[in-house]
């Protein structure tokens, strides 16, 4: 505790001087951030409430979600990431629902998809395994030129990050390559047009080296985790008695020598 050491007489003098100005006197303050770490024990009363509810939520992990007779896979070397395409498609659709406007493009990162969906009946736990992170979806605005740049950055770094809404094709050789990016129907992208884009807060924040995503404007943080969005989509499909099938391939077309150059980190565009 801070105490002021003053003789009684000087204390009185100071008091009388200060008392002229008592209303204007500002409060003094100090502040800190206290991390809520594991070193702090749980409160028994609160924990008693949470524990059965947590168990209930965990019990739901075994609940069946939707049939996926072919499974969905991230793709091995040279194969397209159809699981990622599905996630990006769901992001785009969910984003449109949230903002009530067309969302032309969605992109996620392959590194954030932590497990394949094996063929058979999917359970809630499978989606948690696929997406253990609490990342949420963000809707931003980019120009057509920026979208092409985002696709390019994902290609050079990782051979093409899972996306929805565009087709990307590289032609030529590792030494002399050209990239063509169009909308999914093959129509050209107007570089000056501004469109809505769905991504994750992780990528928007600069994660995974797609720096152009950081330039996104008017970010709308949806608060919906990518995981919850996938769970909701599975529930919708199950209700409609539809199986979950992999999206068609063909979003990235990259010649094998260029794929190898990308893997060896020798490719530039």
């Amino acid at each position: 505790m801070f105490t002021l050491q003053l003789k009684p007489s000087s204390s009185l003098l100071l008091f009388s001087l200060l008392s002229f100005n008592l209303v204007a006197q500002p409060p003094s303050s100090r502040a800190e951030v206290i991390p809520i770490s594991g070193a702090i024990p749980d409160d028994a009363e609160i924990q008693k409430v949470i524990a059965p509810l947590a168990a209930e939520i965990k019990a739901t992990f075994g609940l069946p979600l939707v049939g996926a007779p072919q499974g969905l896979f991230r793709g091995r070397r040279g194969e397209e990431n159809l699981l990622g395409y599905w996630v990006a498609d769901v992001m785009r659709k969910a984003a449109q629902g949230v903002i009530g406007a067309p969302v032309r493009f969605a992109i996620t990162n392959a590194g954030g998809l932590r497990a394949n969906l094996r063929p058979g009946q999917l359970k809630v736990a499978d989606i948690f395994e696929l997406m253990p992170f609490e990342n949420e979806m963000v809707v931003i605005e980019l120009t057509g030129a920026e979208i092409i740049q985002v696709v390019k950055e994902g290609l050079v770094r990782r051979g093409g990050e899972p996306c929805s809404g565009v087709l990307a094709k590289i032609e030529g050789t590792p030494e002399l390559a050209t990239l063509t990016v169009t909308w999914e129907d093959g129509s050209p992208i107007d570089p000056t047009a501004t469109v809505k884009v769905a991504t994750s807060d992780y990528l928007f924040g600069g994660g995974d080296s797609i720096p152009t995503l950081k330039q996104g404007r008017k970010p709308f943080t949806t608060g919906i985790t990518l995981r919850q969005m996938l769970l909701d989509e599975c529930a919708v499909m199950a209700k409609a008695k539809r199986d979950l099938l992999p999206p068609a391939p063909g979003r990235y077309t990259v010649p094998v020598p260029i794929q190898e150059a990308i893997r060896d980190k020798k490719f530039k565009l």
Partner: protein, 311 residues
Amino acid sequence: MDRRAFLASLGTAAVATQVPLRAAEGPAAASGRITLLHTNDTHSHIEPFGPGNGAISGLGGMARRATLVRQLRQQLGPVLLLDAGDTFQGTPYFNRYKGRLDYQLMRMVGYDAGTLGNHDFDNGVGMLVEAMEAMEGLKHPNPPFPFVNCNFDCKGAPALGKRIRPYLIREFPGIRVGLTGVGVAFAGLVAPKNHEGVTWRDPYESLNPIVKRLREVEKVDLVVVLSHLGYNTNGSAPDDLHLPGQVPGIDAIIGGHSHTFLETPTKVAQAQGETLVFQVGFGGVNLGRMDFAVARGAVRAASGAAMPVLG
């Protein structure tokens, strides 16, 4: 679990282990001190973050927060536990319990007041009111906590309107604290059907008369704003950093919305002195603490030194 069974389960679990410090009545002392403890954007993170969440892995959790708050109340005496909004949305707890659990646990932890963020409207006004009702209906020795906001016009949503107060006063020995709140614009953040009956007003214009009233009529010693405007919008919208310049007379802004991790409050000069702007990330991984000492005619003194709070 249906709502009744859920409430019953909470009721039986409730044990009178904690009675929060309420407004202390009695003759005003010559000086007083108060500790503001605060969270923002907890987003239904009732349990700690699991592994794989980077720097925040293993942090957070409401049961720990309750322990920490109880310890601090015991050590410090005059404490206000406050939240700057976006309690909802982010984990399966919200999808399953629709915010009722979040607010009920906040009451059990001993919150003194909260405000509303954009995500608290995610299930619409009706479900928000239901969550507030569930919190009010909980059998627990802690009183229900109120919500403060002065820039939502709730004329078209009376059930919500009667639960939101433009400001409130809490009195402790030697210090009167005025609390108010402001929320972010709905446009682009909350679907129109989800805020039906609630109209957003400019936060600066809404706050000015409230802060003036708190200072001049209510004669508070400390003005605290719970803000869900965001820390810094670079001038594109009202924010916490620009608030002091537009609304003088605020001592502390407890912020949210932008999930900003500040280590210390940002001091912003304003016409009547200085405003501390603070925000402590999101997901309940941190508890913010601001201590204020005020003097009424006595020499002003800094408050207690830092203390270990870990169990």
